[in-house]
Symmetry: D3
Subunit: 331 residues, 6 copies
């Protein structure tokens, strides 16, 4: 929507108004350049543009992962549908159009990967997926510094601080299948936390993560996520990382994950769990230095795709992945 019309690292285009153009796709990437719901620093509207090109390699639609030994852009059929036209001054129409786009993708059988945009879009993103797979049938794994379960902000039901509440209220995602990781800081207050507790959400604040270790928390969360659900929606708010690793975001909160931890975790989720939709949000280029946040967001997408590809390879009889195996062994 902003700037030239490009695709994610050069993958082929498709057109959401032409179902045949993505009929065979495993993954369809779509941009949601909306930042009208942000409560502080805007700029996430330029997220899709930045996430698509933040890479120093050729834009050739191929990225062989050294870690996973698959090519997430080639071993899967990945297409880019361009951006949903979002007008940041009109939240309601924007989320309606985003939901329609995501639903269209999910219906086709492809996994939608949505490039935000601020976190407002979690509502249409996850609802679009749930509309196809069934309300209450997908779990949410949500990386964020913030719970995003606000009630009403600036007089509105919608915005980047409330999508998770709206998702639960709508029934799209069950509250007790909501797994939040990386929360920290000073919002929300007791009232909203009580509401969250009543929904039986499971929220891992950073103190718990540090005390118990991230791997243990993940293992526990995975068990919940798979319990009576058919798949996972993965929502990554880049501010789950420490501002030192992700300065280019709207509401940075010190004390988060490292970039390494986020990449390792996204890989593990997409390798171990049946992921049905992914969003990466809150990359705000105006506050990014040397593009490091955009580079990180781009790699979150690639790790997700690579792990999905490896998961499918293993499901098809391939060798399970061993992270301890030396890079060149068996080449």
């Amino acid at each position: 929507m902003f700037g030239p019309d490009i695709t994610f690292l050069g993958v082929d285009r498709c057109d959401l108004t032409d179902p045949s153009s993505f009929a065979e796709a495993d993954v369809v990437i779509v941009g949601a350049p909306f930042d009208g719901g942000t409560s502080n620093r805007p700029g996430a509207r330029f997220g899709p543009q930045a996430l698509r090109q933040a890479c120093y390699l050729s834009h050739d639609g191929s990225r062989p992962s050294m870690a996973l030994r698959v090519d997430g852009l080639k071993d899967l059929k990945v297409l880019d549908a361009g951006d949903v036209e979002c007008y940041s001054g009109d939240l309601e129409n924007s989320i309606k159009d985003i939901e329609a786009a995501v639903y269209t993708i999910a219906q086709s059988g492809a996994i939608p990967v949505i490039l935000g945009g601020d976190h407002t879009i979690a509502l249409p993103d996850a609802r679009g997926v749930a509309r196809h797979h069934g309300f209450g049938r997908i779990s949410m794994i949500h990386f964020d510094a913030h719970a995003d379960t606000g009630e009403i902000e600036f007089g509105h039901l919608y915005g980047h601080g409330q999508p998770m509440r709206r998702l639960i209220e709508s029934g799209a995602i069950r509250g007790d299948r909501f797994l939040q990781l990386g929360l920290r800081g000073y919002w929300p207050g007791p009232e909203i936390l009580s509401w969250m507790a009543q929904q039986n959400m499971r929220s891992y604040e950073m103190t718990e993560i540090v005390a118990r270790g991230l791997p243990d928390c993940l293992t526990e969360a995975f068990t919940i996520a798979l319990d009576d659900c058919d798949g996972i929606f993965l929502s990554v708010d880049i501010d789950v990382c420490d501002p030192g690793h992700a300065p280019g975001t709207g509401t940075p909160e010190p004390g988060g994950l490292t970039a390494r931890e986020l990449l390792d975790t996204v890989r593990r989720i997409c390798y171990e769990l049946p992921v049905l939709g992914v969003e990466i949000v809150e990359v705000a280029p105006p506050y990014d230095h040397a593009d490091i946040t955009a580079f990180l967001g781009n790699r979150v997408v690639l790790e997700a795709l690579s792990a999905i590809a490896r998961r499918r390879e293993v499901a098809a009889g391939g060798e399970p992945w061993d992270p301890r195996k030396p890079l060149l062994e068996g080449r």
Copy 2:
């Protein structure tokens, strides 16, 4: 609205819900931290905050002008009403609330000075003034690189590219009392320009300004502005200046005025003409370096206030202003 609650350079506060708090005011400043209507770089929501504090002197509510020998903040009674709560994701309610605030100020007899925000707010700003002084009774002097007379953008009637069209259509401002200075570049195209011509707008593109000289163009524009109108609304989009002088803005267009030209012109307008409302818009701090755009915007406000004060002093029998008079002569 964003950050701490401060007033413009330390002037006293007032409360728009309490008319007595600004009953005696000559000028009421109000912030409109809205950037949901911007078509490109956002960030103007932080304009009010930046414009209020971009000064290295004490925030003491006093600024004696060396050029004009008045103190725009003390010789006039200037109050700051804080920000209108604007949610950038909800354009329609935001402009409704802004218009109400501006109208409230105008009704009190004070001159509203609105700190934007993106240029979407020209619609409620000028309409709020016109509702008090009479539709069709005020002229618009509009500094901008862009005509802002778009028809529909992103499917919407409102946004930072269309306010001038909506103002004319609504009758708030007569098309033939629209004076635009500083236009340049590659937008709008012939169709919109034809519409503008049909409204008898008078738009000074930079080529004409360079060829004829800015002072001549201004003198001509002033004559039109005063013809069968009771006063002036002054709209300053900071992008009228060259990006070298005002990098911190959403849609920078090379080849504009210098900061000096803008300050001299604002001073001349507010000294020579009966100004009834002022807005300064499109200062976008995320793209500002060393705060130079915010400093410039702050000085636009101060030049306007100083010149209004001097105009009143002269009206009350004071000595007319002579820009050639040495600073220390007669002190």
Copy 3:
């Protein structure tokens, strides 16, 4: 002192010249915008201004901690006394005035929290506290990349490289109750280190911290700190963190703590130990990108206040804090 007159995240003001205004306070925040003692990059004079407002939430004087389940700004009575007027060109008067302000706060029974400024202010900050609680009766826990025990620099006894030596020499703090954590790099040399050894200081260089683990070092340090002392002065130089986490500082030294480690440690100290004074210094906004250093410094203050509040709650019979407890458990 610089820019508008604001308080820390909107807490109420008090006036150090009017004791009644802070008679009931638990904590009084005061700014020391002095950077005349810095040996390299200046800018810490803007630290108080930045630390007070580096937050994306409302400036409403409330910050409920998810980690600690208290509101450090509401459960304690926290007031902000504004800035001590510091002239960076006059070190001697500046530190005299800072000491007087800190002493005034300590005398009232409140905990002074000083927002620096460069580290020169550790001398008046800790001495002001010690004057009330007794010379030699408080321990110093000092986070820093640098020992700050220089003898004479640029011909002066005072500056940001010498305050710890002056504190020991003056008797305000005993050398053997000086706990330093995070030291690294190439200063000071053997002579000064010998002097430090003679004072029986306990300095944890990063190599030791990495080899032994930060928690063990802290536990050991706490034992020393509580031995025959009545309380703790906590001095946090933001450069204890790695420059990747805190670029906006005067003398960055690679290889430091992560932001997460610093926040966890400050929380632990203020929860486990009787803290009587806190300073956060060397945040230099001109070198900060996307405000990440200011955000971190703001959170250091909030973690300290939250932990002090929780400590008091536990002392009053509340439940001890368990960092492993899930966020929503028991809500």
Copy 4:
């Protein structure tokens, strides 16, 4: 070459290896992302990428000029051939390949517009044009802070400080048809200036331009340029502008033209003279703030194209351009 494959503001692509793809073109744009010849700050390799997209309007291949009332991208057939693959570590092959590309374009009858890259490329750019139009048959109008007539630098004949000497030596451009405008500063020294004088070059240092006025100097230069030559090669080094207007460049020299002066001048040249080739060089994005230098460079290209279009329109019987005519008159 770097990043995604885009065209100048969305114009259609062509392929230099397929002559039919640009057989009808009036103008062919080509990128030369080479900065191996720069003697100081690199980064101009990202110039083509930046120049193609530095605009806030849609990338729709249309830019109606308000000043000239033509659409430079539509009234002319403008195509973009992408980038010549340039390896900055291999100057000699890079300039060989660039010359071949430019020659191919010129041969087709189209005007080549080359997006640099550092000024090294003036040699292949102008030589490529001269090979088609005849050695000695085109004049050079060269905007630059620097004469670029060095003999040997870093042991090499080629680089961004020597192309103009090589052009004269090769006979591609006659020394006495070399018009340089905007020179200033402290390079080159007397020896090189003597060589330049011997070639009968005409170099307008800024002092002369200020003393005489830019319009007079231009008029004089145009007379020389047209004397016994068939056309003009226009070379614009963005550093001809003052660093305040063009910070993003390799060797900024204070005291240059304003952006406005450059745009007005480029327009006048392309309207009044038969321009056969254009290059815009030395835009270095790593040093650009808020993209203002890239925006300026983009507008240099658009002014050139718009003026060429208007010149053709006039040649075909259209109304001559009058810069004093009001924008809306006659619409």
Copy 5:
């Protein structure tokens, strides 16, 4: 003092404690890296370091001016004495040491060129020169946005807002030989302006300069400066330029001179008048983008030296300078 020990563009060093080392010098450059007197943004302590190296050419102690056809660094014997050790926390000793250094240089017969530092140093700089040439015998030509004639600031007589008052009070410079150019904005107020008027200072506010033209104002000022005085001290505060041209400074004031105007004016002063001392102050690198302010300051020094060299050449019988003469004529 900060960073490596370098000289101005590679000129030879001298040692102020060894008079023989600069006995033959025409000009001695000395750095005064002091910013303890600045009332707002610090950073000018890094001015000397930046001014010495802000150039893309070789640091070879030679800079042949194209405009003036002399080599200011070679035709004059120019040495660099390094920095006076200044401790920004100790204003009084710093200015004492600076004055001693400047006096030492002046006594030797050389022209001191002082690289600031904040404007506090005007007091020791001009007084050091006046001590040698006689109190009251030199005129001051002072370029600045600010009058710098404050009485007491932050409780102190000294600082960057007061040096001009102290100079007049001390008798070093007569008030009626004080020529100020470029003043603008909102400081000082009437009381200080009255004091200035009483001293018969001649201060050209920007409005007068714009209305009358800079050349006329200069001509008038030169007449005053030469009346019953033996020479000139030239003080250039970089903030006399517009922030668009000089963002890297402590107290930027919009609406100033262009870089071109400043360079042309410095050249004219040093060519037409007997300059006995020069200072360039308030270049603050932390706020500079792409080093453009440092580049400008470096060129201010070079223009001054080049013009002094040309003035001497003419005095020795050389051809008078004609700014309209083409660069290559007569080479």
Copy 6:
């Protein structure tokens, strides 16, 4: 080569054309300001300049390490030979000249420490060392996000993506003595990895390092490195660190080491192994914020030198280093 002629933190100079000037040296530092081989962001040409001065302490040729209790710049005789003149447009001559310089140093018995420059220089750096110590007699320990074993890029054998392949092909380093640490991301693909496997390289991708722990991987690598080899060449590409810790580099890849890990590892290598040459490459100042990448690179050099000094001290009978020993113990 760029800017003033300085030495690494003020160590003495030497002259490679005068063998007597470095006859006694333990270490000779040399700059290789070449970035013509970089495939993406340039700027590493300014690496040597930045690495030499990125320190806030005096440039006095002394840096006593607190961690290691030696002074790497004084306990060793360290000299700086300045920069090899590199022209980024001429890769082939540049690497020839670099190799000659490194060989000259190695021949003298000193350890060469090369400040890059992009990674292209690994070829001449390691080959220059191997020419003296014997082809195949030194092992390579290589920290990098990228394997740098490309075959041909941009039609060339040489560049920053291929040096390791060229080294192995040339026989300078045996493939099975190549230890790579920190690899990650999406390059190279299977073909190049197969070639690497055939050479019996040992490459530790980050996933393996995270899974096994860095210390274990290092211990294993050390064993290989010492097997039938006489010493080590240590190549540190700063992009081995996470972009949060090293943003100022050409091809940043998220998910790398922390600065702390890199410093600890360099120290361990130089303390435990016989290091014969060191290079630090890919520090690109144009993309660096607050100089944090340059600071880190400077400390990499100092850690290496300090550890070499301590290793020699221990070899001469000194006490082995114990990282757990408190800083002040035994002082």
